[in-house]
Symmetry: C2
Protein backbone atom coordinates (compact mmCIF):
# COMPACT_ATOMS: atom_id res chain seq x y z
CA UNK A 1 0.00 0.00 0.00
CA UNK A 2 2.70 2.43 1.01
CA UNK A 3 4.73 1.54 -2.06
CA UNK A 4 1.73 2.31 -4.23
CA UNK A 5 1.36 5.78 -2.69
CA UNK A 6 5.04 6.43 -3.25
CA UNK A 7 4.86 5.29 -6.86
CA UNK A 8 1.87 7.54 -7.52
CA UNK A 9 3.65 10.47 -5.91
CA UNK A 10 6.69 9.88 -8.10
CA UNK A 11 4.46 9.51 -11.16
CA UNK A 12 2.76 12.80 -10.32
CA UNK A 13 6.18 14.42 -9.94
CA UNK A 14 7.31 13.08 -13.32
CA UNK A 15 4.27 14.44 -15.14
CA UNK A 16 4.86 17.92 -13.67
CA UNK A 17 8.55 17.58 -14.62
CA UNK A 18 7.52 16.86 -18.23
CA UNK A 19 5.35 19.99 -18.17
CA UNK A 20 8.27 22.06 -16.80
CA UNK A 21 10.48 20.66 -19.57
CA UNK A 22 7.92 21.59 -22.19
CA UNK A 23 7.63 25.17 -20.90
CA UNK A 24 11.40 25.61 -20.82
CA UNK A 25 11.86 24.10 -24.26
CA UNK A 26 9.14 26.31 -25.73
CA UNK A 27 10.98 29.36 -24.37
CA UNK A 28 14.35 27.96 -25.62
CA UNK A 29 15.80 28.18 -22.11
CA UNK A 30 18.81 26.02 -21.15
CA UNK A 31 18.19 24.78 -17.60
CA UNK A 32 20.54 23.11 -15.13
CA UNK A 33 19.66 21.38 -11.84
CA UNK A 34 22.62 21.75 -9.45
CA UNK A 35 22.81 19.07 -6.74
CA UNK A 36 25.35 18.38 -3.98
CA UNK A 37 26.02 17.98 -0.26
CA UNK A 38 25.66 21.08 1.92
CA UNK A 39 28.64 23.38 1.58
CA UNK A 40 30.12 21.94 -1.61
CA UNK A 41 30.19 25.42 -3.16
CA UNK A 42 27.14 25.51 -5.45
CA UNK A 43 26.23 29.13 -4.71
CA UNK A 44 29.83 30.30 -5.11
CA UNK A 45 29.99 28.53 -8.49
CA UNK A 46 26.81 30.38 -9.50
CA UNK A 47 28.29 33.71 -8.36
CA UNK A 48 31.41 33.12 -10.48
CA UNK A 49 29.27 31.97 -13.42
CA UNK A 50 27.11 35.10 -13.29
CA UNK A 51 30.29 37.24 -13.10
CA UNK A 52 31.76 35.58 -16.18
CA UNK A 53 28.62 35.06 -18.25
CA UNK A 54 26.09 37.58 -16.94
CA UNK A 55 27.04 40.33 -19.40
CA UNK A 56 26.33 38.24 -22.48
CA UNK A 57 23.66 35.79 -21.30
CA UNK A 58 20.47 36.50 -19.37
CA UNK A 59 20.49 34.24 -16.31
CA UNK A 60 17.78 33.39 -13.76
CA UNK A 61 17.95 31.22 -10.63
CA UNK A 62 15.45 29.11 -8.69
CA UNK A 63 17.05 28.70 -5.27
CA UNK A 64 16.09 25.75 -3.05
CA UNK A 65 16.73 25.75 0.69
CA UNK A 66 15.04 24.26 3.73
CA UNK A 67 14.94 27.70 5.31
CA UNK A 68 16.26 31.29 4.87
CA UNK A 69 16.91 33.38 1.76
CA UNK A 70 20.66 33.50 2.38
CA UNK A 71 21.68 31.97 -0.96
CA UNK A 72 19.10 33.94 -2.95
CA UNK A 73 20.32 37.14 -1.24
CA UNK A 74 23.84 36.43 -2.52
CA UNK A 75 22.61 36.09 -6.12
CA UNK A 76 20.00 38.83 -6.33
CA UNK A 77 22.85 41.35 -5.89
CA UNK A 78 23.76 40.69 -9.51
CA UNK A 79 20.43 42.16 -10.59
CA UNK A 80 19.11 38.91 -12.06
CA UNK A 81 15.72 37.25 -11.45
CA UNK A 82 15.99 34.96 -8.42
CA UNK A 83 13.19 33.09 -6.69
CA UNK A 84 13.75 31.42 -3.33
CA UNK A 85 11.85 28.24 -2.55
CA UNK A 86 11.86 27.27 1.13
CA UNK A 87 11.10 23.57 0.97
CA UNK A 88 9.97 23.55 4.60
CA UNK A 89 6.78 25.36 3.60
CA UNK A 90 6.02 22.61 1.05
CA UNK A 91 6.15 19.85 3.68
CA UNK A 92 9.00 17.78 2.19
CA UNK A 93 12.04 19.76 3.11
CA UNK A 94 14.95 17.62 1.97
CA UNK A 95 14.79 18.18 -1.81
CA UNK A 96 13.19 20.19 -4.57
CA UNK A 97 10.45 18.49 -6.57
CA UNK A 98 8.89 19.30 -9.94
CA UNK A 99 5.91 21.05 -8.36
CA UNK A 100 8.12 23.47 -6.43
CA UNK A 101 10.09 24.23 -9.61
CA UNK A 102 6.82 24.74 -11.49
CA UNK A 103 5.73 27.31 -8.88
CA UNK A 104 9.16 28.93 -9.13
CA UNK A 105 8.92 29.10 -12.91
CA UNK A 106 5.46 30.70 -12.74
CA UNK A 107 6.88 33.50 -10.62
CA UNK A 108 9.75 34.39 -13.00
CA UNK A 109 8.40 33.44 -16.43
CA UNK A 110 7.53 37.08 -17.14
CA UNK A 111 11.26 37.81 -17.17
CA UNK A 112 13.33 37.14 -20.30
CA UNK A 113 16.25 34.76 -19.76
CA UNK A 114 18.23 32.10 -21.66
CA UNK A 115 19.87 30.18 -18.83
CA UNK A 116 18.11 28.90 -15.71
CA UNK A 117 19.91 27.44 -12.73
CA UNK A 118 17.93 25.42 -10.21
CA UNK A 119 20.05 25.18 -7.07
CA UNK A 120 18.76 22.18 -5.16
CA UNK A 121 18.74 21.68 -1.37
CA UNK A 122 22.17 20.62 -0.06
CA UNK A 123 21.64 16.87 0.17
CA UNK A 124 23.40 14.00 -1.61
CA UNK A 125 20.50 11.56 -1.21
CA UNK A 126 16.94 12.79 -1.75
CA UNK A 127 17.25 15.30 -4.64
CA UNK A 128 18.50 12.50 -6.93
CA UNK A 129 15.09 10.81 -6.89
CA UNK A 130 13.08 13.75 -8.23
CA UNK A 131 13.08 14.83 -11.87
CA UNK A 132 12.57 18.58 -12.17
CA UNK A 133 12.30 18.91 -15.95
CA UNK A 134 15.65 20.66 -16.44
CA UNK A 135 17.81 20.02 -19.53
CA UNK A 136 20.76 18.81 -17.43
CA UNK A 137 21.55 17.50 -13.94
CA UNK A 138 24.90 18.54 -12.49
CA UNK A 139 26.37 17.06 -9.29
CA UNK A 140 29.00 19.05 -7.41
CA UNK A 141 31.43 17.27 -5.08
CA UNK A 142 33.93 19.16 -2.97
CA UNK A 143 37.30 17.44 -2.62
CA UNK A 144 36.98 18.00 1.14
CA UNK A 145 34.15 15.42 1.21
CA UNK A 146 36.53 12.58 0.31
CA UNK A 147 36.79 10.30 -2.73
CA UNK A 148 34.53 7.60 -1.25
CA UNK A 149 31.22 9.33 -1.97
CA UNK A 150 30.12 7.92 -5.39
CA UNK A 151 29.67 4.26 -4.32
CA UNK A 152 28.01 5.39 -1.08
CA UNK A 153 25.55 7.74 -2.84
CA UNK A 154 25.32 6.19 -6.32
CA UNK A 155 21.90 7.47 -7.45
CA UNK A 156 22.87 11.15 -7.61
CA UNK A 157 25.90 10.30 -9.75
CA UNK A 158 23.94 7.92 -11.99
CA UNK A 159 21.29 10.59 -12.62
CA UNK A 160 23.73 13.41 -13.41
CA UNK A 161 25.22 14.45 -16.75
CA UNK A 162 28.22 16.32 -15.38
CA UNK A 163 30.32 16.09 -12.22
CA UNK A 164 32.04 19.23 -10.99
CA UNK A 165 34.86 18.30 -8.61
CA UNK A 166 35.08 21.54 -6.67
CA UNK A 167 37.50 23.32 -4.30
CA UNK A 168 40.54 21.80 -6.01
CA UNK A 169 42.61 24.65 -4.50
CA UNK A 170 42.45 22.67 -1.22
CA UNK A 171 43.96 19.48 -2.70
CA UNK A 172 47.51 20.19 -1.39
CA UNK A 173 46.15 20.03 2.18
CA UNK A 174 44.09 16.85 1.81
CA UNK A 175 44.64 13.12 1.36
CA UNK A 176 42.45 12.90 -1.71
CA UNK A 177 42.79 10.19 -4.36
CA UNK A 178 41.51 11.80 -7.57
CA UNK A 179 42.12 8.69 -9.70
CA UNK A 180 40.11 6.55 -7.29
CA UNK A 181 37.24 9.05 -7.35
CA UNK A 182 37.10 9.26 -11.14
CA UNK A 183 37.32 5.48 -11.49
CA UNK A 184 34.45 4.93 -9.05
CA UNK A 185 32.32 7.56 -10.81
CA UNK A 186 32.84 5.86 -14.19
CA UNK A 187 31.82 2.55 -12.64
CA UNK A 188 28.47 4.13 -11.81
CA UNK A 189 28.11 6.21 -14.99
CA UNK A 190 30.52 5.26 -17.72
CA UNK A 191 30.09 8.43 -19.83
CA UNK A 192 30.05 10.99 -16.99
CA UNK A 193 31.58 14.32 -17.97
CA UNK A 194 33.99 15.44 -15.24
CA UNK A 195 35.47 18.92 -14.74
CA UNK A 196 37.88 20.01 -11.99
CA UNK A 197 36.82 23.35 -10.57
CA UNK A 198 37.98 25.97 -8.13
CA UNK A 199 36.12 29.24 -7.73
CA UNK A 200 39.17 30.45 -5.77
CA UNK A 201 41.98 29.62 -8.22
CA UNK A 202 39.78 29.82 -11.31
CA UNK A 203 40.66 26.28 -12.42
CA UNK A 204 38.10 24.77 -14.77
CA UNK A 205 35.83 27.83 -14.90
CA UNK A 206 36.44 28.32 -18.62
CA UNK A 207 35.57 24.68 -19.36
CA UNK A 208 32.38 25.03 -17.30
CA UNK A 209 31.41 28.26 -19.07
CA UNK A 210 32.01 26.61 -22.47
CA UNK A 211 29.81 23.68 -21.43
CA UNK A 212 27.03 26.14 -20.50
CA UNK A 213 27.43 28.09 -23.76
CA UNK A 214 27.13 24.87 -25.75
CA UNK A 215 23.93 24.02 -23.88
CA UNK A 216 22.50 27.50 -24.40
CA UNK A 217 23.21 27.22 -28.14
CA UNK A 218 21.55 23.81 -28.34
CA UNK A 219 18.48 25.05 -26.48
CA UNK A 220 18.27 28.05 -28.81
CA UNK A 221 18.37 25.73 -31.83
CA UNK A 222 15.70 23.55 -30.27
CA UNK A 223 17.94 20.46 -30.13
CA UNK B 1 -4.79 12.35 5.11
CA UNK B 2 -1.13 12.34 4.14
CA UNK B 3 -0.26 14.34 7.25
CA UNK B 4 -2.07 11.77 9.36
CA UNK B 5 -0.02 8.94 7.84
CA UNK B 6 3.17 10.91 8.46
CA UNK B 7 2.20 11.62 12.07
CA UNK B 8 1.44 7.97 12.68
CA UNK B 9 4.75 6.96 11.14
CA UNK B 10 6.60 9.42 13.37
CA UNK B 11 4.62 8.24 16.40
CA UNK B 12 5.55 4.64 15.57
CA UNK B 13 9.18 5.71 15.25
CA UNK B 14 9.08 7.44 18.64
CA UNK B 15 7.66 4.39 20.41
CA UNK B 16 10.44 2.19 18.98
CA UNK B 17 12.96 4.87 20.00
CA UNK B 18 11.66 4.71 23.58
CA UNK B 19 12.09 0.93 23.50
CA UNK B 20 15.68 1.31 22.20
CA UNK B 21 16.36 3.82 24.98
CA UNK B 22 15.00 1.39 27.59
CA UNK B 23 17.17 -1.48 26.29
CA UNK B 24 20.31 0.66 26.27
CA UNK B 25 19.61 2.07 29.73
CA UNK B 26 18.99 -1.39 31.16
CA UNK B 27 22.40 -2.46 29.84
CA UNK B 28 23.99 0.79 31.14
CA UNK B 29 25.28 1.63 27.65
CA UNK B 30 26.14 5.23 26.72
CA UNK B 31 24.91 5.80 23.16
CA UNK B 32 25.62 8.61 20.72
CA UNK B 33 23.87 9.37 17.43
CA UNK B 34 26.39 11.06 15.09
CA UNK B 35 24.81 13.22 12.37
CA UNK B 36 26.33 15.42 9.65
CA UNK B 37 26.63 16.20 5.94
CA UNK B 38 28.43 13.64 3.77
CA UNK B 39 32.19 13.85 4.19
CA UNK B 40 32.30 15.90 7.39
CA UNK B 41 34.63 13.31 8.95
CA UNK B 42 32.33 11.22 11.19
CA UNK B 43 34.06 7.90 10.46
CA UNK B 44 37.53 9.40 10.93
CA UNK B 45 36.42 10.80 14.30
CA UNK B 46 35.22 7.31 15.25
CA UNK B 47 38.55 5.78 14.16
CA UNK B 48 40.48 8.26 16.34
CA UNK B 49 38.07 7.70 19.24
CA UNK B 50 38.50 3.93 19.09
CA UNK B 51 42.30 4.39 18.96
CA UNK B 52 42.26 6.61 22.04
CA UNK B 53 39.52 4.91 24.06
CA UNK B 54 39.31 1.35 22.74
CA UNK B 55 41.80 -0.11 25.21
CA UNK B 56 39.82 0.97 28.27
CA UNK B 57 36.22 1.08 27.02
CA UNK B 58 34.32 -1.55 25.03
CA UNK B 59 32.90 0.19 21.97
CA UNK B 60 30.33 -0.92 19.37
CA UNK B 61 29.08 0.83 16.24
CA UNK B 62 25.85 0.80 14.24
CA UNK B 63 26.84 2.17 10.85
CA UNK B 64 24.21 3.78 8.59
CA UNK B 65 24.76 4.23 4.86
CA UNK B 66 22.56 4.26 1.79
CA UNK B 67 24.79 1.60 0.23
CA UNK B 68 28.12 -0.23 0.70
CA UNK B 69 29.94 -1.40 3.85
CA UNK B 70 32.87 0.98 3.29
CA UNK B 71 32.56 2.78 6.64
CA UNK B 72 31.88 -0.41 8.60
CA UNK B 73 34.93 -2.02 6.94
CA UNK B 74 37.10 0.82 8.26
CA UNK B 75 35.90 0.26 11.84
CA UNK B 76 35.71 -3.53 12.00
CA UNK B 77 39.52 -3.55 11.63
CA UNK B 78 39.71 -2.46 15.26
CA UNK B 79 38.17 -5.77 16.32
CA UNK B 80 35.00 -4.20 17.72
CA UNK B 81 31.36 -5.19 17.05
CA UNK B 82 30.11 -3.25 14.01
CA UNK B 83 26.82 -3.68 12.23
CA UNK B 84 26.18 -2.03 8.88
CA UNK B 85 22.67 -0.87 8.03
CA UNK B 86 22.12 -0.12 4.34
CA UNK B 87 19.11 2.16 4.47
CA UNK B 88 18.29 1.45 0.82
CA UNK B 89 17.08 -2.01 1.79
CA UNK B 90 14.65 -0.46 4.30
CA UNK B 91 12.99 1.70 1.65
CA UNK B 92 13.74 5.12 3.16
CA UNK B 93 17.34 5.66 2.32
CA UNK B 94 18.08 9.19 3.49
CA UNK B 95 18.27 8.65 7.28
CA UNK B 96 18.34 6.05 10.03
CA UNK B 97 15.13 5.51 11.97
CA UNK B 98 14.45 3.84 15.31
CA UNK B 99 13.37 0.57 13.69
CA UNK B 100 16.66 0.22 11.82
CA UNK B 101 18.59 0.93 15.03
CA UNK B 102 16.43 -1.62 16.87
CA UNK B 103 17.35 -4.26 14.25
CA UNK B 104 20.99 -3.22 14.57
CA UNK B 105 20.85 -3.52 18.35
CA UNK B 106 19.31 -7.00 18.12
CA UNK B 107 22.27 -8.17 16.06
CA UNK B 108 24.98 -6.96 18.47
CA UNK B 109 23.27 -7.17 21.87
CA UNK B 110 25.00 -10.49 22.58
CA UNK B 111 28.29 -8.58 22.70
CA UNK B 112 29.34 -6.74 25.84
CA UNK B 113 30.00 -3.01 25.35
CA UNK B 114 29.71 0.28 27.26
CA UNK B 115 29.72 2.82 24.46
CA UNK B 116 27.61 2.65 21.30
CA UNK B 117 28.04 4.96 18.34
CA UNK B 118 25.27 5.20 15.78
CA UNK B 119 26.75 6.79 12.68
CA UNK B 120 23.83 8.22 10.73
CA UNK B 121 23.56 8.61 6.93
CA UNK B 122 25.47 11.66 5.69
CA UNK B 123 22.61 14.14 5.42
CA UNK B 124 22.02 17.44 7.21
CA UNK B 125 18.23 17.38 6.75
CA UNK B 126 16.35 14.10 7.23
CA UNK B 127 18.18 12.40 10.15
CA UNK B 128 17.23 15.31 12.43
CA UNK B 129 13.56 14.35 12.34
CA UNK B 130 13.96 10.80 13.65
CA UNK B 131 14.59 9.95 17.30
CA UNK B 132 16.69 6.80 17.61
CA UNK B 133 16.64 6.36 21.39
CA UNK B 134 20.30 7.23 21.94
CA UNK B 135 21.46 9.12 25.05
CA UNK B 136 22.89 11.99 23.01
CA UNK B 137 22.71 13.53 19.54
CA UNK B 138 25.93 14.95 18.14
CA UNK B 139 26.13 17.05 14.96
CA UNK B 140 29.45 17.29 13.14
CA UNK B 141 30.15 20.25 10.84
CA UNK B 142 33.32 20.47 8.80
CA UNK B 143 34.73 24.00 8.49
CA UNK B 144 34.92 23.38 4.72
CA UNK B 145 31.11 23.47 4.59
CA UNK B 146 31.00 27.14 5.52
CA UNK B 147 29.64 29.03 8.50
CA UNK B 148 26.19 29.60 7.00
CA UNK B 149 24.81 26.11 7.68
CA UNK B 150 22.99 26.44 11.07
CA UNK B 151 20.27 28.88 9.97
CA UNK B 152 19.83 26.99 6.70
CA UNK B 153 19.48 23.58 8.43
CA UNK B 154 18.23 24.56 11.90
CA UNK B 155 16.49 21.33 12.98
CA UNK B 156 19.62 19.20 13.18
CA UNK B 157 21.31 21.83 15.36
CA UNK B 158 18.23 22.31 17.56
CA UNK B 159 17.98 18.55 18.15
CA UNK B 160 21.67 18.03 19.01
CA UNK B 161 23.41 18.21 22.39
CA UNK B 162 26.92 18.78 21.07
CA UNK B 163 28.41 20.37 17.94
CA UNK B 164 31.80 19.13 16.78
CA UNK B 165 33.34 21.72 14.44
CA UNK B 166 35.69 19.43 12.51
CA UNK B 167 38.71 19.68 10.21
CA UNK B 168 39.98 22.83 11.96
CA UNK B 169 43.43 22.05 10.51
CA UNK B 170 42.08 23.45 7.22
CA UNK B 171 41.09 26.84 8.71
CA UNK B 172 44.24 28.64 7.46
CA UNK B 173 43.19 27.90 3.87
CA UNK B 174 39.54 28.94 4.18
CA UNK B 175 37.49 32.09 4.61
CA UNK B 176 35.63 30.80 7.63
CA UNK B 177 34.06 33.05 10.27
CA UNK B 178 34.10 30.96 13.48
CA UNK B 179 32.46 33.70 15.58
CA UNK B 180 29.60 34.01 13.13
CA UNK B 181 29.09 30.24 13.16
CA UNK B 182 29.04 29.96 16.94
CA UNK B 183 26.71 32.95 17.26
CA UNK B 184 24.23 31.49 14.77
CA UNK B 185 24.32 28.11 16.52
CA UNK B 186 23.55 29.72 19.89
CA UNK B 187 20.62 31.55 18.30
CA UNK B 188 19.14 28.14 17.43
CA UNK B 189 20.18 26.33 20.61
CA UNK B 190 21.35 28.61 23.39
CA UNK B 191 23.06 25.92 25.50
CA UNK B 192 24.78 23.98 22.68
CA UNK B 193 28.11 22.51 23.72
CA UNK B 194 30.70 23.25 21.03
CA UNK B 195 34.12 21.60 20.58
CA UNK B 196 36.69 22.39 17.87
CA UNK B 197 38.12 19.19 16.47
CA UNK B 198 40.75 17.99 14.06
CA UNK B 199 41.51 14.30 13.65
CA UNK B 200 44.63 15.39 11.75
CA UNK B 201 46.17 17.86 14.24
CA UNK B 202 44.60 16.24 17.31
CA UNK B 203 42.90 19.49 18.39
CA UNK B 204 39.95 18.91 20.69
CA UNK B 205 40.25 15.12 20.81
CA UNK B 206 40.98 15.13 24.54
CA UNK B 207 37.91 17.30 25.24
CA UNK B 208 35.76 14.95 23.14
CA UNK B 209 37.14 11.86 24.89
CA UNK B 210 36.43 13.48 28.29
CA UNK B 211 32.87 14.23 27.20
CA UNK B 212 32.42 10.57 26.24
CA UNK B 213 33.95 9.34 29.51
CA UNK B 214 31.56 11.55 31.47
CA UNK B 215 28.62 10.09 29.55
CA UNK B 216 29.83 6.52 30.05
CA UNK B 217 30.12 7.17 33.80
CA UNK B 218 26.63 8.65 33.96
CA UNK B 219 25.17 5.70 32.06
CA UNK B 220 26.95 3.29 34.38
CA UNK B 221 25.46 5.07 37.40
CA UNK B 222 22.03 4.95 35.78
CA UNK B 223 21.67 8.74 35.64
Amino acid sequence: MEVKILQNALKANDSIAIENERKLKERKIFSVNMMSSPGSGKTTILEETIRKLGDTVKIAVIEGDVKTTMDADRLVKFGIPVVQINTETFGSSCHLDANMVSKGLDSIMEEKFDLLFVENVGNLVCPAGYKLGTCRNVVVLSVTEGEDKPPKYPLIFRNSDLLLINKTDLLPYLDFDMKKLEKSVREIKVDMEIFHLSAKSGEGLEQWIDWLKKGIKEARNGS
